[in-house]
């Protein structure tokens, strides 16, 4: 089978409010940087695939305006998913496997700050039984966190420790929106945002964009000194009924990890898309990621969560550790939907 590798990654700094509702201008420098690093021009890219959401932009077909940032004339081959761009990466990966193209550029973008994000995200819920009640994303995560805490899986202090580690890691990440040295006791003294979640337990709302370049076989070796070869990639989804799945774990994350061969070798780095502190603990358990693995050395999405590109950035950040020679085998994870409903795992290795 065709070997496919991540050969490039760039992201815009995640900021509380950046740019226009369309997000196009955030993409322009990201494309420039990711193409320049790979020594490619726009015309060299065989396939373009993006992830974004009309509900974030507040208008129909909002992704079309982003195509302007590509320069789509003469015509290009292009596709879009109304999901985090990690799923666009999956589509691009499959496109390369068909043999039709040997390079693909995947990008995600969104202006989370244009609307009221936690309310807008109610639109992704079951439209008959849940969305008409407008349950917001933070409240749903809080219901999950309490279930876990009261089941004895972990404590609010364990959750605060995740925030402390993430913020400390983010000091080295210029794209991070939040970073710094914090103390667990100090964080636990803050009021609840949605009991039992405090502000540090929730990813900040921020605007951003990211791009990843994929290439196959010899093309990847020619363009990149140390390609991050994708040894396995899989995604699974759980029931949209919040009551119908065990919220104290993520069956779809575990399933995607197993299907991607996550456990079939030692892991150096895992970038987990966990918009809430408790979800990082849940994901690490579900994926069987134990001691000795660096989790979210970038600071993760708790330090910057640009919707629809943050999952793609996890794959990019995990790939970068192979590009720079500081890791041999890494994993990027993306999530979508309420309370870790849908999950994608991409395992990469140096060869």
């Amino acid at each position: 089978m065709t070997d496919v590798a991540v050969i490039g990654f760039a992201e815009a700094p995640c900021r509380p409010e950046a740019g226009t509702t369309s997000g196009v201008e955030l993409l322009v420098p990201v494309f420039r940087d990711v193409l320049a690093a790979a020594g490619l021009s726009r015309r060299d890219i065989g396939f373009w695939c993006s992830g974004s959401s009309d509900y974030l932009a507040g208008r129909a077909f909002s992704f079309v305006s982003a195509v302007d940032a590509i320069g789509a004339f003469p015509p290009i081959t292009e596709s879009h998913v109304e999901m985090d761009a990690a799923w666009a990466l999956y589509e691009a990966y499959v496109k390369i496997l068909t043999g039709e193209v040997d390079t693909a550029l995947v990008y995600g973008f969104g202006k989370s700050s244009a609307g009221e994000l936690r309310r807008v995200l109610a639109m992704q819920l079951d439209p008959y039984l849940l969305a008409p009640l407008w349950p917001d994303s933070v409240s749903i995560a809080a219901l999950q966190a309490r279930l876990c805490i009261e089941s004895g899986l972990f404590s609010e202090k364990d959750m605060a420790e995740v925030a402390v580690r993430s913020r400390a890691n983010a000091i080295r990440n210029p794209s991070a929106q939040v970073s710094g040295i914090a103390e667990v006791e100090e964080l636990l003294g803050a009021p609840y945002v949605a009991d039992p979640l405090r502000a540090h337990d929730c990813a900040p709302v921020g605007d951003g964009a990211a791009a990843v370049i994929l290439a196959s076989g010899d093309r990847a070796r020619e363009l990149c000194e140390r390609p991050a070869w994708i040894s396995g990639i899989a995604h699974q989804v759980d029931s949209p009924g919040l009551g119908m799945r065990d919220l104290t774990t993520s069956r779809s994350a575990a399933g995607a990890g197993a299907a991607a061969g996550l456990g079939e070798g030692g892991l150096d780095v895992a970038e987990l898309h966990a918009p809430f502190t408790h979800q990082e603990i849940l994901l690490a358990r579900a994926l069987g990621i134990g001691d000795g693995v660096e989790i979210n050395p970038s600071g993760g999405v708790l330090c910057g969560n640009p919707m629809f590109s943050a999952g793609l950035s996890r794959i990019g950040a995990a790939a970068q550790r192979i590009h720079d020679g500081t890791a041999r085998r890494t994993a990027g994870h993306a999530t979508s939907g309420p309370a870790l409903q849908q999950n994608l795992v991409c395992v990469m290795e140096a060869r």
Binding site: G19, T20, T21, S22, V24, E25, V28, F31, R42, Y55, G58, R59, V67, D68, A69, I70, G71, A72, F73, K111, S113, A114, G115, E116, R118, R119, V120, A122, M123, P127, Y128, L129, L130, A131, P132, L133, W134, P135, D136, S139, I140, A142, L143, Q144, R146, L147, E150, Y192, A194, D195, P196, L197, D238, S239, G241, L242, G243, M244, R245, L247
Partner: protein, 319 residues
Amino acid sequence: METETALSAPLTIGFTYTRSLGPVLSQFMTALAERRILGSRGSDGRVHAPPAEYDPVTYAPLTELVEVSTVGTVQTWTWMNRPLDGQPLGRPFAWALILLDGADTPMLHAVDAGSPDRVRTGMRVRARWVAEPAGHIRDIECFEPDGGCPAARATSTSSEPVTMIETPIQLRYRHTTSAEESRYLRGLATGRLLGQRCPACGKVYIPPRGACPVDGVPTTDEVELPDQGTVTTFCIVNTPFAGQRITPPYVAAYVLLDGADIAIQHLILGCPAGEVRMGMRVRAVWRPREEWGTTPENIDHFRPSGEPDAAFESYAHHL
């Protein structure tokens, strides 16, 4: 170019989803109108309330519906201190997963508990119904702490089957324009039409695009365009529709302003619809100056200028 703050404005989007119900949810909604709650029995015997249409484990269609209680137990909760628009209650309330008696998996709803110290996992709650249930999940106004008195009797009258639901959606945004669009809109406020030229290919875009669709680079060089141009293509609107501001028939056309490389869409008035043609020369008719704002609506419409028609070749590459 001087730095100016980008123009932004509130944008509210409202629409109503009208959704058809399948056989399972139709029975569920019909029962709600009778103040009863139904669940579906899964392949493993568990009862899901509200009902799952497909088994969460085997994905098989589920068809057996069973009635569960309107009283249940809180399994987990959080406190909503500042309720958001559209949520079940306007005052602070608890969100909870509630396991109804007779069900094996919980439902999400609001609990009107008054304050967070009156909510706990394990508390008993009962459904509070709206005055006139009509077959919608919002027929359950919320749950409230169960006082232990017997559950209110369901309405006995069997209603017509509910087959559709309507859900109104309202979303609010702050729409922010790009620096280029802001220049364009501020130009309009002074009666000027400002386009921008792509530094790479030289094409002139109005409104300026932020990025040239050919070259993917920001457009930077400003170009002022006249308020006259050529009709490249058009259609005659004969059909009335909601919100229409002009009585049909009228003409919507693409007008290529002189010096531009992309047409703008506008109305052509001032002549019978049947006289509008490709190549027709037109001129903008502006609203009174005192009505101008940072909006393309400053131009009310275009009208024939009386000049001879433009040659097809002059706009053939802009169709």
